[in-house]
């Protein structure tokens, strides 16, 4: 029996407004526990929520970037349940009239474009954070930090259009990229500004009815999402093939053991007793406001990728890498504006720049390198002032210090030696010092030449123009 996988993803994104969604506390990540709190976000007796307009603007921006329709009229609702990270024991969220509906994200699967539809996007408040003295089940006590309580979140629910863990990863990657471009969130899973839960089910291939689904939580990285989904799909297949039925439940992804375990069964499912939030007025959003926000959207990843491919004749792969973050794409555009050899810029960014960033676990906006610096470096290579090899060392220094290339080259005396006379001198010395290699080369061993070239480069501390060294050596050795 062949099975088809059906996956829907529920993604929560933290909006990076300066203050929380219903009070004016700061949202800065990493502060000392319970220092970014006030009576409102602590749910003290008598307090009331007041909506942060910027959070609404950011939510609309994200929704537009995801091709959603923005509701003219939406409202907030109370989602009631008890948990120690919930100051009021209800969460202000949106239930039946969310901010946005009916969007999509386009992914490319095996060269084919596919649309994953977005059912809805709504605004809600985040909970506090619990720290357990041991794992949840065994802990003797727990500590609560309410700094995060009240931070604005948007919840993005996809339709169950995803058909494999691989597609889920592609969807999540694209979603993250799009939202990162809008600037409304850092969307970093490792910092909790991007979170993902999944609904997974299987059904016989060809069937149009949905199988029983389970909800998977606690997948805290892209890798975890893929592994968690792969595991759960296999688990469900095994259950069904053994003649059993998949139980509708919430399951917890255990990263260490690589399995999902049941968390809540259907009997314990929450009845949230949703009702309209009486402390907030309904959200009425004019079409003018929507268009105003739409006009502030930057060029989004897919559009930018297409433009890079068309304008600069870049291959799809290059364009994909360069548009993986907005800052990277901005950097590319700015560099090409100063040094129009797009493919060269692209190669440098994809190799040397990405190597540096990955090795140091940094993002491009976190290093002092500027587009002008890179453009100038490429000009220096172009002019023959330095060799490509030396340029790599200079580049690394530029990334670390932010110094312009000319300065580094000058201070370190890295100007390429192109003077034929000077090179000839060194060549002569190397020939004299390596009679065996010379003999080997004359006997037909090409490898000996490479060695001799290396010796010349060594003697000139890498500064000799490699092309000239090669030519002059060959000449001298012929005679």
């Amino acid at each position: 029996m062949e099975y088809e996988t059906v996956i829907g993803l529920e993604v929560h994104v933290e909006l990076k407004t300066r203050s929380k969604v219903f009070c004016s506390c700061s949202t800065t990540f990493g502060a000392e526990p319970n220092t970014q709190v006030c009576p409102v976000c602590l749910g003290l007796p008598g307090v009331l929520p007041v909506l942060n307009e910027k959070a609404v603007e950011y939510a609309i921006k994200a929704a537009l970037a995801l091709n959603c329709q923005i509701a003219e009229y939406s409202k907030f609702d109370r989602k009631n349940y008890f948990y120690p990270d919930m100051p009021k024991n209800y969460q202000i969220s949106q239930y039946d009239l969310p901010l946005a509906t009916g969007g999509y994200v386009e992914i490319e699967v095996n060269g084919e474009k596919k649309r994953i539809r977005i059912k809805r996007l709504h605004l809600e408040e985040d909970t506090g954070k619990l720290l357990h003295s041991a794992d949840v089940a065994a802990a003797e006590s727990s500590l609560v930090d309410f700094n995060r309580a009240g931070v604005p979140l948007i919840e993005i629910v996809s339709e169950p259009d995803i058909r494999s863990p691989e597609e889920a990863k592609l969807y999540l990657t694209k979603l993250k990229s799009i939202i990162e471009y809008t600037g409304v969130s850092d969307v970093k899973m490792q910092e909790g500004s991007l979170r993902c839960d999944a609904n997974v089910s299987i059904r016989p291939r060809g069937s149009s009815e949905f199988g029983t689904r389970t909800e998977i939580k606690n997948m805290n990285s892209f890798r975890a999402v893929q592994r968690g989904l792969e595991y759960e799909v296999e688990r469900q297949k095994k259950v069904v093939e053994a003649g059993g039925k998949v139980v509708q439940e919430t399951r917890h992804w255990d990263e260490n053991r690589g399995i999902t375990v049941p968390l809540r069964s259907k009997e314990e499912a929450h009845d949230y007793r949703y009702f309209p939030e009486p402390d907030l007025v309904p959200l009425v959003i004019s079409r003018e406001r929507v268009e105003e926000i739409r006009s502030q959207l930057p060029e989004l990843p897919d559009a930018r990728k297409a433009r890079l491919m068309a304008s600069y004749n870049l291959p799809a792969y290059d364009a994909e890498v360069l548009t993986s973050s907005k800052a990277l794409g901005d950097f590319f555009d700015a560099t090409v504006a100063l040094f129009p050899e797009a493919k060269t810029v692209s190669n440098w960014m994809m190799s040397e720049l990405m190597k540096y960033l990955n090795a140091n676990n940094l993002e491009i906006q976190e290093i002092p390198l500027t587009p002008k610096d890179l453009a100038d470096l490429l000009k220096l290579i172009d002019q023959g002032t330095i060799s490509g090899k030396i340029a790599k060392t200079v580049f690394e220094e530029m990334c670390a210090t932010g110094e312009p290339p000319e300065k580094i080259v000058r201070e370190k005396g890295l100007i390429q030696i192109t003077d034929e006379g000077a090179i000839a001198q060194v060549v002569a010395e190397v020939i004299a010092a390596n009679p065996q290699s010379v003999a080997d080369y004359r006997a037909g061993k090409e490898k000996a030449l490479t060695f001799l070239v290396g010796q010349v480069m060594k003697a000139t501390r890498g500064k000799a123009n490699p092309e000239a060294v090669n030519r002059i050596l060959r000449e001298k050795l012929r005679s």
Partner: protein, 484 residues
């Protein structure tokens, strides 16, 4: 006349003329509290030292020639569900018995700017749920007119304190009648403003779409003064109206010629005691003599109001009271695990009526019942509101009794919640509609006060004060004092 028997306006005049200091006034009220508190038990917290130091500060500022508000230096008692920074605020509940708020309610901030002298926090039915203060977790408050009877509720402490002269003015809160009903039973003036007229920030929420803070005072002028000081927009309350606050005292001109007064017949139906009915009839005669046109009208959906209220209010309350769980503040009774800590804390911390309403409200919102109860009740609410809109388009104000009876005996209704709920039958529809209403003394029966209620259009508190003042100045009910 003793200082504690005077109105705000009379006291303010003495202060302005320098005939008496704020400290002397405050001392008089402190002595009065000491004299009668043992009999009526109106206060959960008594703050005489604070009051005296605040009064002295006002005296200093007056001597320095600083401009002062009309309320400056006059002692107030505030219902204990309104948050006061640094001063215990209990909601008359064990679960907040030792809760000291780190912030002030907006109305308290406003009064402080106006020169507040805080004499104490008044007893109430726990979390404002009740009509007699018999649901207070601490002690009962007694009616100064007859110590074997209830003062009404839930703002019974404020009303009793006002009637007994323990304060120059008081604040209560009204969700289904909790300012007006005790004002009526205690022979004082109580206003429930239009929903959104006064900020709810710092009012411990009972039913968010119904709650309003309102003044309980000696007379109509005093009430107008206090409302003017506490009303207005508040950026911390999204439901507070961004409308200007008029000087309500300018409406006190006594002229009601041509005023059209409607008499909703549903409010004079069976269940209204004869003496109360009689007081309303005499009020009609008096108002007609003063030039008003009084005519019977109908608010046809009145009979559904109590039921709708007792679904909507508990539903909202069940959510508003969820935060009292022993985790962040208030009582914590530690159990073996989280659920039992929640359970024990709330079991021990909440009284019977609160539990009753939390359960009712949870049920009304639960899956499978939401449509039949909560949603349906809200639809009925719309019909009730439309009744008022239609009537108030034809009439300037409506006149009704405030309560069906005079003050009942302690213990008389407390074992029968539904009978207790019936005390609110004349007041509850007003909260559902969100319109303003004012209760003033309208007579006496066997020494017990009777209240009459004027209901107005949204944000027409001025007109309510006008008609109430005209009536009041033609009677002497507001001049009587309990034999305490």
């Amino acid at each position: 006349m003793k200082l504690y028997e005077m109105t705000l306006a009379e006291l303010q005049a003495l202060l302005a003329k320098g005939e008496v200091t704020a400290r002397e006034v405050t001392e008089a009220f402190v002595r009065r509290v000491e004299e009668v508190e043992g009999a009526i038990h109106a206060l959960v917290t008594f703050t005489p030292e604070l009051a005296l130091s605040q009064a002295e500060e006002i005296d200093r500022r007056r001597r320095a020639g600083e401009p002062l508000s009309p309320l400056a230096g006059l002692p107030a008692v505030i219902k204990d569900n309104i948050v006061t920074q640094g001063i215990r605020t209990t909601c008359s509940s064990r679960i907040l018995e030792n809760f000291v708020p780190p912030y002030d309610a907006t109305v308290v901030e406003k009064l402080k700017k106006a020169g507040l002298v805080l004499l104490g926090k008044a007893n109430l039915d726990e979390f404002a749920m009740g009509s007699s203060v018999e649901n207070s977790a601490f002690f009962k408050t007694l009616n100064p007119w007859d110590l074997s009877r209830v003062p009404g509720g839930s703002s019974g402490g404020s009303a009793a304190a006002m009637a007994a002269g323990e304060a120059a003015y008081t604040l209560g809160s009204d969700t289904g009648g909790s300012v007006r009903q005790p004002a009526a039973l205690c022979g004082v003036v109580g206003m429930k403003p239009t929903y959104g007229r006064v900020s709810r920030y710092g009012l411990v929420a009972f039913a968010s779409s119904l709650d309003q803070i309102g003044p309980i005072t000696r007379d109509v002028r005093d009430n107008a003064l206090v409302l003017g000081a506490i009303a207005g927009h508040d950026p911390r309350d999204s439901t507070a109206a961004p409308l200007e606050v008029p000087d309500y005292t300018t409406f006190l001109d006594g002229d009601i010629r041509g005023l059209r007064i409607g008499l909703p017949r549903e409010y004079l139906a069976a269940g209204i005691e004869a003496p109360v009915r009689q007081a309303v009839e005499e009020a009609i005669r008096l108002l007609s003599d003063l030039g008003a046109e009084v005519e019977e009208c109908s608010l046809p959906h009145t009979e559904y109001a109590l039921s709708a209220y007792y679904i909507i209010a508990p539903a909202e309350a069940s959510s508003n009271l969820a935060r009292y769980d022993g985790v962040r503040y208030g009582l914590r009774v530690a159990g073996d695990d989280l659920i039992s800590t929640y359970g024990q804390t709330r079991r021990q911390g909440f009284g019977a009526e609160v539990k009753r309403r939390v359960m009712l409200g949870t049920y009304a919102l639960s899956s499978g019942y939401y449509d039949a109860y909560y949603l349906k009740a809200q639809k009925v609410r719309t019909l009730i509101r439309q009744d008022f809109d239609r009537a108030l388009a034809r009439y300037d104000v409506l006149l009704t009794p405030t309560t069906p009876t005079t003050a009942f005996k302690v213990g008389e209704k407390v074992d029968d919640p539904l009978t207790m709920y019936m005390s609110d039958v004349c007041t509850v529809p007003i909260n559902l509609a969100g319109v303003p209403a004012l209760s003033i003394p309208g007579g006496f029966h066997q020494g017990l006060p009777i209240g009459i209620q004027f209901i107005g259009r949204p944000f027409a508190e001025g007109l309510l004060y006008r008609v109430a003042y005209a009536f009041e100045q033609s009677t002497a009910f507001h001049k009587q004092r309990p034999p305490l």
